[in-house]
């Protein structure tokens, strides 16, 4: 049986600080763009695989692979998490277009728009 998307999101966010959960609630209620940004940043920071990259300050132009030490498996894990969080399917083609944190946020915004258009 398909799971309620918002309860799945709550589950996958359970380990995050309260402000991330609050951001998700704000995003869910009114599509707050700042809240979406906070969620993507929290996910990108959380899924960094390499401890060596821990001191990097994350901005819109931070590159996942070069700056944060992401490898292909870590990217796949991050994408899996975002798919659960936003109840969407992110394709390989979508991922190929993502190099920076800003690219990823824009990709999610585009996918959400496609989803609401389809609905």
């Amino acid at each position: 049986m398909p799971q309620d998307p918002s309860s799945l999101a709550t589950q996958v966010l359970a380990r995050f600080p309260a402000e991330v959960l609050e951001a998700f609630e704000r995003f869910r209620k009114n599509g707050d763009a700042g809240a979406l940004e906070a969620l993507v940043v929290a996910a990108v920071v959380d899924y960094r695989p390499s401890p060596a990259a821990s001191s990097v300050v994350v901005t819109d132009r931070t590159r996942l692979v070069e700056d944060l030490g992401y490898d292909s498996v870590a990217v796949a894990e991050l994408v899996f998490f975002l798919e659960d969080l936003f109840d969407m399917t992110i394709t390989n083609a979508d991922i190929l277009g993502v190099a920076t944190l800003g690219d990823l946020r824009d990709c999610i915004i585009r996918k959400l728009a496609e989803k609401s258009g389809a609905a």
Partner: protein, 419 residues
């Protein structure tokens, strides 16, 4: 020249380092505790050989904890199964014991890694269930590498940067004895100079309960008596988890770097029963042949063996079969090596049991003792001709025969000798 063992590492129900393992073996202290699976008190399995000092029962690695002295970076942890955490801790201990650092084995084309585990039924089930909920549209990207049989090879090889050879062995409860056997062969053949051999198993509802459904587990609730190999009152095995690692090297490799040799891996043999999916041949035919082959490979006679480390898991059929096989090979010829079944203390750790017994044998040789059978009360008729000391014997064995048997009638035996 036979290979030698230069390091051992233990995460076991009876201790998480070689000092506490030796103390438990010498003092006959068991590591079996009351357990409740799936928060269901109705489940008939009441005890297990638990691993202490770790919390790896969650399906998320983010919830796990382990003893602080072992460093497991996040990028490694995310791909591990629960028993992979045990395995890394055991390998780190074994390397340190052998006087080796991570840099000595990393990117060293002469060092191999031979592993045995059943994989993680818990994570496999969890990840596939999630995929079903998503109607096949997505799944955990690390679901495969963290859960299938082989997970130890994948994750440990990457973590320790092993470039010599990496291999996994799946022959149920003989798996890690196979891993050690083929490590010995590759060292003898000059293919490698050093092999890290590791066996590991997790202990949770998904790893244990399927054996209850086969009616293979003890249903006794007293941890002191549930695992009692060779006893007339035995009623099944007690499941256990953990990890054990050995560093096995060519003698030349060990001597060149001045390493202390703990024991020699003098020979090994294997043979199959050709009899049943799960049960042993009732007279231990394959096991007897495997023991004889191990002795032949080590170029020793039955009279040269002073201690047999029995596979005996406390199941009615298996222990009888092994007792008969040992009796035919030794007692019938007038030889009575001291026989001990350490699963009375540890429970049965499945794939890792062979390497665990081998590591116990290394400790026995190096530290000068033979474990007893403290849980044995009334020996079963088949084992009455065997010398089954109840208490620890304070004598160093010179040659040990260590037995393993697995589903499908796979039997693997090793001879370990004083260096």
């Amino acid at each position: 020249m036979n290979p030698v063992v230069t390091g051992v590492g233990f995460i076991t129900p009876i201790g998480n380092d070689r000092v506490s393992v030796e103390r438990s073996l010498r003092e006959g202290r068991h590591g079996i505790e009351a357990v409740e699976f799936l928060e269901n008190p109705e489940i008939s399995v009441k005890v297990a050989g638990t691993v202490k000092g770790f919390r790896v029962d969650s399906t998320s690695w983010r919830d796990w904890s382990w003893p602080q002295e072992f460093a497991i970076p996040k990028d490694v942890l995310r791909g591990l199964a629960p028993h992979g955490v045990y395995a890394i801790c055991a390998v780190e201990q074994a390397l340190a014991h052998a006087g080796l650092g991570a840099r000595d084995v990393a990117m060293n084309a002469e060092t191999g890694l031979y592993c045995a585990s059943a994989g993680s039924a818990m994570l496999l089930h969890h990840n596939l269930a999630k995929t079903r909920v998503a109607r096949g549209m997505r799944g955990n990207p690390l679901g495969v590498v963290s859960s299938i049989a082989g997970t130890l090879n994948f994750t440990l090889a990457a973590h320790f940067q092993v470039t010599g050879a990496v291999c996994g062995f799946v022959s149920a409860c003989a798996s890690s004895s196979h891993a050690l056997g083929y490590a010995i062969d590759d060292l003898r053949l000059g293919r490698l100079k050093r092999v890290i051999v590791v066996g590991a198993e997790e202990l949770n509802a998904d790893s244990v309960l399927p054996f209850a459904h086969m009616r293979a587990l003890s249903l006794q609730s007293d941890p002191r008596w549930a695992s009692r190999p060779f006893d007339t009152a035995r009623d099944g095995f007690v499941a256990a988890g953990g990890a054990v690692a050995l560093v096995v090297e060519t003698r030349a490799c060990a001597e060149e770097r001045g390493a202390r040799v703990l024991a020699e891996t003098a020979g090994w043999g294997q043979a199959a029963d050709g009899y049943s999916i799960a049960a042993s041949h009732p007279e231990g035919a394959g096991l007897k042949r495997a023991m004889a082959r191990a002795l032949a490979d080590a170029r020793v006679a039955a009279s040269d063996i002073d201690h047999v480390s029995a596979h005996a898991t406390s199941t009615p059929v298996g222990d009888s079969a092994e007792a008969i096989a040992i009796g035919e090979l030794f007692t019938a010829g007038g030889f009575r090596p001291k026989v001990a079944a350490t699963k009375g203390l540890t429970g049965h750790a499945l794939s890792m049991s062979g390497v665990m017994q081998a590591a116990f044998g290394v400790l026995s040789i190096d530290r000068g003792f033979i474990p007893g059978n403290p849980h044995l009360d009334v020996a079963c008729p088949e084992s009455r001709g065997l010398d089954l000391p109840r208490a620890t014997v304070d004598t160093a064995p010179v040659r040990i025969l260590s037995n393993s048997s697995g589903f499908g009638g796979s039997n693997v035996c090793h001879v370990l000798a004083a260096p």
